[in-house]
Amino acid sequence: MNIKIAGGRVIDPSQKIDQVTDLYIANGAILALGEQPEGFITDEVFDASGQVVCPGLIDLSAHLREPGDTQKGTIASETAAAVAGGITTLVTPPTTQPIVDTTAVAEMILDRAADSGFARVLPLGALTKGLEGEQLAPMHALASAGCIGFTNARKPINSSLVLLRALEYAATHDLLVIFQAEDRTLVANGCIHEGTTATRLGLTGIPNAAETIEVSRCLLLVEETGVRAHFGQLSCAQSIQLIDNARKRGLRVTADVSIHHLLLTDEQIDGFDSRFHVNPPLRSQLDRAGLRQGIVTDTIEAICSDHQPQDAMSKQAPFAATEPGISGLETLLPLSLLLVEQQLLALPQLIEKLTLAPARVLGIEAGSLAIGSAADVCVFNPEQEWVLTSENIRSKGHNTPFLNYPLKGRVNLTLIDDQPVYRPA
């Protein structure tokens, strides 16, 4: 199909483009920018005047819950939510039931995504069998089956020897390893940042050291092995300093942070509001400031949704007994735009952190509107105000504090290849 996206503000960080122009798409790829190519017969024109045209968003962490927890989310429901948020590619962790530690499960997810999904789904494989931290998962086979990287999620690898071996093995095949750093013994039965709010509410705190100790251990072993490594969903200011220092020593590591950690703090939990129960926990104002600094200085290259849909009952209990997580795919873009409104980032910088930067983390050809690239495109109106409600939300998880919250910035078209996978009703 030949599509012309007319008159939008085209922002493509991969080519350092930010101009009002037309975008031409043919045969699933970007054909031209600006001048209409000769012989181009338009099948459809999309008027993007007053809107931003950018590469489709790439989300480095989104739980889809399938297979295993389909009452919380399915590949169909959650990828439908993703494209409504302008996300065309998402990375999904191996913590499904069964766990992604065999090629069969990886293939099943990819097949299901091809059949019923709306967005491109990149599964992560388990770093160790059953995420048990003891034996290596068949990483090479999993990578061949389509796993984009490997992680032990938030499950502990108690033995540093096992971790070292896993990283050595991944490095052998130049596989990407993603850390969601957490020292289980320090987390213990904590459910909130260890700070004033935890003390007042009498909830068991999770100290910053639960993250920073594991970040330190992982960094030292990355240095030892030279593995390609990424740190996902960091929450502490000190973690950012550790990453920054490692970079200065020449280490090739990347990092991302969830949008809610850039906006919220543990103070929101006052009154035991389980909507703010997330893991890693929302931390102090100082930590939030450190994370925000990190995205300005590019120590943190990417921003993700850390989408974790839950069913209603999972949030219906006293705080510590509720399940952590925020359903975030549909609010990633409008919430990220707040960082522009707060003058932390310029719009093109923000777009880079949502498109090109995560593509580079993953080492994939995506997140670009360069001629010949796949036509994964997001068109959004940054000024359009809207409200996410329990009626219009597409995710099965309604667990977000931003439900019925005034949002600004709405996606009006999402294309994958040349297929319009999302348009508002």
Binding site: A198, T199, G205, F272, M313, P318, F319
Partner: protein
């Protein structure tokens, strides 16, 4: 980015009356004083021949204890009976809720039986808030202890005991001693003491039992008993759970007693007329010496007596708050037609 409202305002009606009693935090001075005055009148009454008043006649009070407790349960039961309520005691072992029935289902079933008040004890911090805000907001919820968060009736009976012995709160120095970290009693005491105008509150414990940033609640932190107790008028001891010994928080009971146990020698640091309090049950020789617990400065048994009066006051105030709110709502609904 979210509007900051006082999360504890859910325990008040629109015109500021008590309708649930979840925490002492955020309650205004007038309300705490009214509660103490009401409790005072009940305390005087309890000494008389006829101990019953009809304030809760025809009302059903359910004691819902998800955690074992003999004392608190029995004082609540006695308080409800003295107010002429019908009382149902349910000891719900947490394991039975693990069989599948959620806390929410249990509560909603009981609400359907037209209960008017739930006295709730639960091992999870925030359980009472959760019930009052999300499950059965039309039933008066009295928090009889939730996790490490709050034990507001215990704190108020302590306040009544202090007032009866010492009078003016605004001239007092108070020390709270022991396992502050795990103590819902300490948190509720601190909020109540602050609101009542106590100018100096000292807390003392080893660092392993001291919660992070506790000074943000307006207390002075000490690790040494001599410093903490110097010249105080009230010494409030906390219970130390035996299982803390197994979790690397303390090396031994004897070392804890040596450093933080209230012996005659340590009590000598306090003001000569200082009173000694303990919420019970007491671990003699762990937190406190027997001679101090049973000595002339101890007001531990007064606390128990005052507990009944305070619980009667809380129950009658919350019930009347619920009723006035419901009446106001019905009035509002009628006005719409």
């Amino acid at each position: 980015m979210f509007e900051v409202t006082n999360p504890n305002s859910i325990q008040l009606t629109q015109d500021g009356k008590l309708k649930h009693f979840l925490t002492t935090e955020g309650l205004p001075l007038e309300l705490l004083t009214e509660l103490l005055d009401t409790a005072d009148s009940f305390a005087d009454m309890s000494a008389q021949q006829v101990k019953k008043v009809p304030l809760l006649r025809g009302k059903t009070v359910v004691n819902l204890f998800f955690e074992n407790s003999t004392r608190t349960l029995s004082t609540f039961e006695l308080a409800a009976t003295r107010l002429s309520a019908d009382v149902l005691n349910l000891n719900i072992n947490t394991s039975s809720t693990k069989k599948g029935e959620t806390l929410r289902d249990t509560l909603m079933t009981l609400e359907a039986m037209h209960s008017d008040m739930f006295i709730v004890r639960h091992s999870d911090s925030g359980a009472a808030h959760y019930i009052a805000s999300k499950v059965t907001p039309e039933v008066a919820i009295i928090n009889a202890g939730d996790g490490r968060h709050a034990h507001p009736t215990q704190a108020m009976l302590d306040m009544l005991t202090i007032r009866r012995h010492k009078g003016d709160f605004t001239k007092l120095k108070v020390a709270i001693v022991g396992d502050i970290l795990h103590s819902r009693v300490a948190r509720s005491q601190i909020h109540a003491l602050k609101t009542l105008g106590v100018p100096e509150i000292h807390v003392v414990a080893p660092r392993t039992l001291m919660p992070r940033n506790i000074e943000m609640l307006g207390v002075r932190v000490h690790y040494d008993m001599a410093e903490a107790l110097r010249d105080v008028d009230v010494v409030m001891m906390l219970r130390l759970q035996k299982e803390r010994m197994n979790s690397a928080l303390l090396p031994s009971e004897s070392e804890f007693y040596k450093l933080y146990g209230l012996s005659e020698e340590k009590l000598a640091y306090a003001h000569p007329e200082a009173i000694v309090m303990h919420p019970g049950p007491i671990n003699r020789g762990v937190e406190i010496a027997s001679s101090v617990a049973d000595g002339p400065r101890s007001v531990i048994l007064d606390q128990v007596t005052n507990g009944i009066a305070v619980r009667m006051a809380v129950m009658s105030m919350a019930m009347s708050g619920q009723q006035s709110e419901r009446a106001a709502q019905e009035q509002g609904e009628n006005n719409e037609y």
